[in-house]
């Protein structure tokens, strides 16, 4: 991984991104953003500001209505089915509600991370390679879940489930991880465990990271670059030192209580 002094490659280039719904509301109103490989970025802002829409537009879970998104040299908004599958397999996602399959084992859930790389038939018949299975078990062990591997996903606590979600994302060996409010439903101890897991592993493997958080203090702890979103626009893009209290109040104008809430 290249460090200091040398220019890091541009990974994600978002230009003039707009998302407008049929009733006229604009979730995203002209977003411009560039992200380099390996950057760890936290996006802050009140709920409804567009953080979630922004993340979901990057891997096209939401269809943008205007603008361009370029991921690693490929156009996301113009990608056809096959190209989109390729792009998505290189972007990992972590969800607020963990989004695991409750009836399947923890190991099976993590292995889903490889489905994007496997042919349809192979994926349907669970034909994961032994190396994949060993890698999955390694990840789970690294995140402290070695005793949970064969348990059903619905037998786990919230913090454990989210760590499974992190493993699933890491199994994709992605270039970018999108985390949408990963700790919103967790207690402080689990929150720390999950944020640490995301931060350390992304740094170690050179994975760029975009994390949505509404807790400003936690944002400042982990991020070197913070982006503030308000009403669908980027209103702040800088280091955590540059994020003054008055800037914070500006971003959360009208919804100040959300800055400190542990859960929404």
């Amino acid at each position: 991984m290249m460090l200091g002094g040398q220019k890091m490659k541009m990974l994600l280039n978002i230009q003039n991104l707009v998302k407008q719904y049929s009733d006229g509301t604009k979730a995203l109103n002209d977003i411009n953003l560039q992200i380099k490989e390996g950057e760890f970025i936290v996006i802050i802002g009140p709920s409804g500001a567009g953080k979630s829409s922004l993340l979901r537009s990057i891997n096209r879970l939401i269809e943008p209505t205007g603008g361009t998104i370029n991921f690693s040299g490929q156009s996301v908004e113009k990608a056809n089915k096959k190209e989109l599958r390729f792009i998505r397999s290189h972007i990992g996602m972590i969800f607020q509600n963990y989004n695991l399959i409750p009836q399947l084992s923890v190991l099976e859930n993590v292995l889903h991370g490889r489905l994007g790389y496997m042919g349809s038939i192979n994926g349907i018949f669970n034909r994961y390679s032994e190396e994949d299975k060993i890698k999955a078990i390694e990840w789970l062990t690294k995140l402290g879940l070695e005793n949970e591997i064969y348990k059903r996903a619905d037998e786990l606590s919230g913090g454990q489930k989210q760590r499974v979600g992190v493993c699933r994302a890491l199994m994709q060996e992605p270039k970018l991880i999108l985390a949408d409010e990963p700790i919103a439903s967790l207690d402080p101890k689990s929150s720390t465990a999950v944020m640490d897991a995301i931060y350390h592993n992304c740094k170690q493997m050179g994975i760029a990271c975009l994390v949505n958080l509404h807790q400003v203090e936690i944002a400042k702890t982990y991020a070197t670059r913070i982006i503030g979103i308000k009403k669908g626009r980027v209103v702040f893009d800088g280091t955590s030192e540059e994020l003054t209290d008055s800037m914070i109040y500006n971003i959360y104008e009208g919804k100040e209580e959300q800055m400190y809430q542990q859960t929404i």
Partner: protein, 280 residues
């Protein structure tokens, strides 16, 4: 958090099936599923072998099919009037049966539900009694009632009352047991009598659930009511049976269409009522 080398060593010594493929599924769930599908497949294959089907008759029948189908597609509206009034009779029979059953089962269900019954043994007695009634399929009830009362709508209505009542009591009692406890406690604690508990407490709370169940049962009864006619209890089924017997396929097609449209329209109507009554 451990590093790669440590993990590899532990894995090799702890994996129960070194050399074989690593398992990934949750054992108990997988076992359950395999057991279910295994037994079912076995039963299926056995049944397939032991069922005696006279293939010659089938082949003959298949040969006749194209002719029958072309006859069926020539719909004739000749019998439209009598079919319509037959369908109406069928609906009416179902409606009356459901209403009478509702009145009876309303009170019976409070006897059967274990949180509202005045006497435990009476409740249990009725519960099992109704279970036996429920295991006799509806057409058989109607056969019996036709044999005892002669043909006609009365036989149909009475025949329908037995299975309908037993179904309604089971469903109502289940609802009372599941959702009634809080209300019963509340009204009891302010000193209400039995009557109060039922009419001021349970009825409002369980109302939408009861109506929903009634709607479902009414639809079912219309289905059964159509069939009744085939057994001789009045309604459109009787006409349809005669068309089948005398190979009047064109009229039959119209009849089937009328049945289909009526039942479907009824389903939409009941859905609409259900949505409106719960939105309140």
């Amino acid at each position: 958090m451990k590093n790669s080398d440590q993990i590899n060593i532990e894995l090799e010594s702890s994996l129960p099936n070194t050399g074989k493929k690593i398992k990934i599924a949750h054992k108990a769930t997988q076992r359950q599923q395999r057991l279910f599908f295994g037994i079912v497949s076995l039963l299926f294959i056995v049944s397939l072998f032991l069922i005696e089907i006279d293939y010659q008759v089938v082949v003959k029948g298949l040969e006749r099919t194209p002719a029958i189908i072309s006859e069926m597609t020539q719909i004739s509206f000749e019998q439209f009037g009598s079919l319509l009034s037959g369908m109406l009779s069928t609906l009416v029979i179902a409606l009356l049966a459901v209403i009478i059953s509702f009145i009876v089962s309303f009170f019976l269900s409070f006897l059967v539900a274990n949180n509202t019954t005045p006497n435990k043994y009476v409740g249990i007695f009725f519960r099992y009694f109704l279970m036996v009634i429920r295991s006799v399929p509806t057409p058989i009830w109607v056969l019996i009632s036709v044999a005892s009362l002669g043909f006609g709508p009365m036989a149909g209505i009475i025949g329908l009352i037995f299975p309908t009542t037993s179904f309604l009591v089971k469903a109502f009692a289940a609802q009372i047991e599941e959702e009634g406890n809080d209300v019963i406690e509340a009204i009891r604690s302010v000193g209400g009598t039995w009557w109060h508990v039922i009419f001021k407490g349970l009825l409002p709370v369980l109302f939408t659930g009861l109506i929903s169940t009634l709607g479902v049962r009414f639809e079912l009864d219309v289905h059964e009511s159509v069939v009744l006619g085939i057994v001789g209890a009045g309604g459109i089924g009787y006409l349809l049976q005669s068309y089948i017997q005398y190979y009047k396929f064109a009229d039959l097609t119209l009849g089937i269409l009328i049945v289909f449209i009526t039942i479907y329209a009824l389903e939409l109507l009941i859905n609409w009522i259900r949505i409106r009554s719960s939105a309140r």
